[in-house]
Symmetry: C2
Subunit: 231 residues, 2 copies
DNA sequence: AAATGATTTAATCGTCCGTTTGACTTTTGG
DNA sequence: CCAAAAGTCAAACGGACGATTAAATCATTT
């Protein structure tokens, strides 16, 4: 009958939140367990008690915000492929599925927008350089999935060419996230649309053009107009 | 008659070389003074004696490989602007001036290609996040200079749009450098051309297409054919 | 109320860090 | 040749780090 009571005290969550905030602000390696426990108003030993080690906490923090994003990416891509059964999925929609979860998942985090984007960017930037294996595996699967989708949408682009172009796209995406604050001030002033929405639209157009480079324009869709993207 | 003897013992250079190598391999923050002096076969105190502090050494290491690259970037851009006096500089050539110095400056370093690219990538990725002020200033000036050039080459692109597109390009460039090793294996097997040359050609095409997005094709150059880029 | 398990706490461990010291050795210039 | 400068060296400094211990406190169940 105790299933409604929290089996864990609030301190575990407080530690996760404090760590998340500090990692976003200062980077993963620049934050000590003492920084974290101090912000969370917990004892130094709390981290090792609840998470086994600093690395255990780091992994859980990463999983908490990365997993929903990666799951939504896959879900969106699968929806796209199901919708357009047979027909090719428009390139812009694939890129959208890759980056849109950044804005849709943000409200579920308690971090400010700015910090959430930084956190995501920091994580992606560290790929292949000491990320927890679970995160690496998630990202590997996501990129493999999207690479296949891109290949289908761009049959005219050679495989090795496409691999590099996707690489460039990912780099642009990371830079968009990590340095978002620098340029976001230019974007503001527009309508009530969140600034990141505008940035993502810009990114989708840029990435699609880069990915399509050298591919001659296809004949205007045989049946009906193309889906419009007026971000 | 002693002009051929080094006024400084070789240890200063050995420290710079060792630090450069370790920074490239493990990242700037993951290398201790003791790691460096051990590889350089010097005493722990040598770093503080020759460079004042670990940060002093880090700054000098960065300056040593960043300054030539940034100077060549500017020089190439100025040559372009001088050559095509009046006429607009082709977009591809501007991007080329931005990234080509990576390959031209590499042989002057004693590092292996792979490490040199990693080092550059790591540095760019840290921009605005604790780089030595001199390096930050160099990069700021370079990007300001190139932003002006891009604006001239793409008068049809709004200023804020262009700023973001350049941002995406820089992100792709950084990712190309830092993760070069992962995809380079796909590129090899070609002719005797260095793999990075091929990668840079791919990057230039990608970036140019992204930057040009939405700009209707200009009428075929009124006088003579365009300069050919057959990388 | 007693017992049990989960959590919190202060104190401390050993290690690594960047830096400093002072003695020692080498190089340099008059 | 010799004094001054430059360089090297072993040793140690204080501080921060992640982790651990054992006792104290809390919550829940019996």
């Amino acid at each position: 009958m105790r299933e409604m009571t929290f089996p864990e005290s609030g301190s575990k969550r407080k530690l996760l939140d404090a760590a998340e905030q500090l990692f976003a602000e200062k980077g993963f390696e620049a934050v000590s367990v003492r920084d974290i426990t101090q912000l969370a108003k917990a004892n130094v030993a709390a981290v090792n008690y609840h998470f086994g080690s600093r690395d255990g906490l780091l992994t859980l923090v990463m999983m908490r915000y990365m997993t929903p994003v990666n799951e939504e990416r896959i879900a969106r891509l699968e929806t796209l492929e199901r919708k357009s059964s047979g027909k090719t999925v428009p390139l812009e929609e694939i890129i959208d599925a890759l980056v849109r979860p950044f804005v849709t998942q943000i409200r579920k985090s308690e971090l400010s927008e700015r910090l959430f984007y930084k956190l995501m960017g920091r994580t992606f930037a560290q790929q292949g350089d000491g990320l927890p294996p679970q995160i690496e595996e998630q990202l590997r699967q996501v990129m493999q999935r999207f690479t296949r989708a891109f290949a289908k949408a761009l049959p005219a682009v050679a495989a090795d060419d496409l691999a590099w172009r996707i690489h460039f796209v990912v780099g642009g995406m990371i830079h968009m996230l990590t340095h978002q604050e620098i340029l976001q001030r230019l974007t503001q002033g527009a309508s009530g649309v969140p600034p990141m929405e505008v940035t993502i639209s810009r990114f989708i157009r840029f990435a699609a053009a880069g990915l399509r480079e050298g591919v001659e324009a296809e004949e205007p869709a045989a049946e009906g107009p193309q889906v419009l993207f007026d971000f």
